[in-house]
Amino acid sequence: MSALADAVDAARAAQASARVDLLLIAGMVEPHSRVLDIGCGEGELLRLLAESRNVDARGMELSQRGVNDCVAKGLSVIQGDADMDLADYPDDSFDYVILSQTIQATRHPRVVLEHMLRIGRRAIVSFPNFGHWKIRAQLGFRGRMPVTSNLSFAWYDTPNIHFCTIRDFVSLTQDLSIEIERAVALDTTGARVRVNAPWWFWNLFGEQAVFLLKRGK
């Protein structure tokens, strides 16, 4: 993990203002590789990858504004929908396919994940952990759908339709025979949850998680 930590530090130095999860993802990507970022927003991660990892970075984004911003910055981004358009990509066309904080907003997360590991040799997925203690507390003690600073939508207008916990996600990877190469959970301060902690601990104290996945044998 020290090489990863070094890479994260290097990336952090390169882009001090970037989100911690994006820095973590950037640290998982080998330099000079081919990367597809699904749901690339305004291209923050693509830029970070291009600048700090020197990769051939491509993006897909649903919103016209996001795509416009990206193309105006000189990034290669196409307007598309993870649920609809991944099927059109050929096998093995990327080294990494990244889905950052988006899987919970897809219609068919399982299908999307399968496509990611068909298109790319590896997949990187980050998502908010619905098993975090704050969320459990809101639902368990207050009996209300959780609204946190990280997940600020009310139940009736949220784009997030498929929440999962870290354990749910691990279980899905097992169902799909996906190999977890690395996994990192971040607490509310953005610090990493203790590396050698058991899954239940991560699931309780990780506010978000980042998984580096590859096809199982």
Partner: protein, 442 residues
């Protein structure tokens, strides 16, 4: 080998004004046309027998107000149909300056009824260039930074070899004796021009609609010669529906008794009614239902109540008639047949065993595609199919669908998202190509 000659001929000719038989419309009609920014407030009230300038849309065919390169008889263009066009003439305009490395050239490909006058006043109509929102100093295709070339397609009527050009074998215009041409033939002729200008690689090839088809053909035929490509509101093949629309237009022209099997130039009349109807029908396909409703609704033209006649009672009728009548001033009916036919034949995948991805396999060209939500002539699905093929071929591609109600014509209009996307894409490609910013010292 004989050298092609470049001559500027337009200045030597007097610019004759084309007179069309039109009836003046009362002043309140200004309001309708002001909505479109149209300064010319004439409209056909009676589309009767053409009392049109004898040359009509053929006026620029042989002596255009443009630069011209003539390739001699010994260097024929072999068309896709297997026939020869010789001598081959290509009329073109340029803007800006070619740098010493010849690395800053941008080729603009025009659409069906466009021409090479992309950023200067049109020699026949006096109207501004057709893409001045996109091309000019400080515009996305910045003429302070790039050397911009735009040539009239072969088959056209603005100076490149077309049916209105003189056939040296007969001393008369070709008419239908010109071989039927394809988009690839047009691109071959452009490549000849680019060779003639001494340019190995174009920095960018850009165009909308049929221009976008040419951009795709360029990228497929000459991948090494295109650094970046912008096909806008384009398709890799012409749809059955679009072929159908074109056929309606061609039949309108051929049904005009003055068409005379394409040999109207032997008489004083022109098939102007047919060509105007073709243009009116086509013009509807360039707009959207929403835009037509927003601009015209069911409003009446110059009257408070229906007159129960077949005059142009609705504003939309008056507008379409205006489009038809102004078009015949500047376009040749036979050219309309040839150029629509070229679009009909376009099916890029068909040239690559049915796989569009193979057309772009291994391409190093950077692509940026743009489509428009309300474009039902070249809908977004067409652009997506190209994007998928480019992705499958491993090419670098950006794609944006712009939300607008302006229909297919949006690519010609002042759509801020189109301009910002184009500028961002070109600026970043120019950095990658090592082109200095406009005004910077190289």
């Amino acid at each position: 080998m004989a050298q092609p000659s470049t001559i500027r001929v337009g200045a030597m000719r007097d610019s004759s004004v084309n007179v069309v038989d039109l009836t003046y419309i009362p002043a309140r009609t200004y309001i309708a046309y002001a909505l479109f920014g149209i300064s010319n407030v004439w409209s056909i009230q009676h589309m009767g027998a053409a009392a049109i300038d004898p040359r009509g849309g053929m006026a620029e065919a042989d002596n255009p107000h443009s630069l011209v390169v003539r390739f001699p008889q010994t260097e024929p263009l072999i068309t896709d149909a297997g026939l020869e066009i010789a001598p081959l003439t290509v009329a073109y305009q340029t803007y800006g300056a070619l740098n010493s490395a010849k690395s800053n050239a941008v080729l603009i490909c025009h659409a069906l009824t466009g021409d090479q006058h992309v950023a200067n006043a049109h020699p026949l109509t006096g109207k501004p260039g057709w893409w001045e929102t996109m091309v000019g100093p400080g515009r996305p295709i910045d003429t302070n930074r790039y050397f911009v070339i735009c040539s009239n397609v072969i088959g056209g009527c603005m100076g490149s070899t077309g049916p209105a050009s003189l056939n040296p074998a007969t001393g008369k215009p070709y008419g239908l004796e010109l071989p039927v041409i394809t988009i690839r033939d047009m691109v071959c002729a452009q490549a000849r021009l680019v060779d003639h200008l001494g340019i190995d690689q174009l920095f960018c090839v850009a165009g909308g609609s049929m221009g976008g088809m040419q951009v795709l053909q360029w990228a497929a035929s000459y991948p090494q010669r295109v650094f970046c490509a912008m096909p806008i509101a384009a398709a890799a093949r012409h749809s059955s529906q679009n072929i159908a629309f074109h056929e309606v237009g061609r039949q309108a022209i051929m049904a005009d008794p003055f068409w005379r099997g394409g040999r109207y130039f032997e008489t004083a009349e022109r098939p102007s009614k047919g060509l105007a109807v073709a243009r009116m029908a086509a013009h509807i396909t360039y707009l959207s239902d929403e835009a037509l409703h927003r601009k015209f609704g069911r409003r009446l033209q110059d009257r408070a109540a229906p007159a129960f006649s077949f005059d142009a009672e609705f504003q939309i009728e008056s507008y379409l008639r205006h489009q038809g009548s102004s078009f015949v001033e500047r376009f040749d009916a036979n050219s309309y047949l040839y150029v629509t036919r070229a679009m009909d034949y376009f099916d890029l995948a068909d040239d690559y065993g049915g796989s569009l991805a193979l057309a772009f396999k291994g391409s190093k060209t950077r692509f940026c595609l743009v489509s428009f939500t309300s474009d039902w002539l070249f809908p977004t699905a067409n652009s997506r199919a190209i994007v998928h093929a480019l992705n499958a071929g491993g090419a670098s591609v950006s794609f944006v669908e712009i939300e607008t109600d302006k229909g297919h014509d949006a690519f010609l209009l002042d759509v801020p998202e189109l301009l910002s996307t184009s500028k961002g894409f070109l600026d970043s490609a120019a950095r990658a190509r090592g082109l200095p910013a406009a005004g910077a010292q190289p």
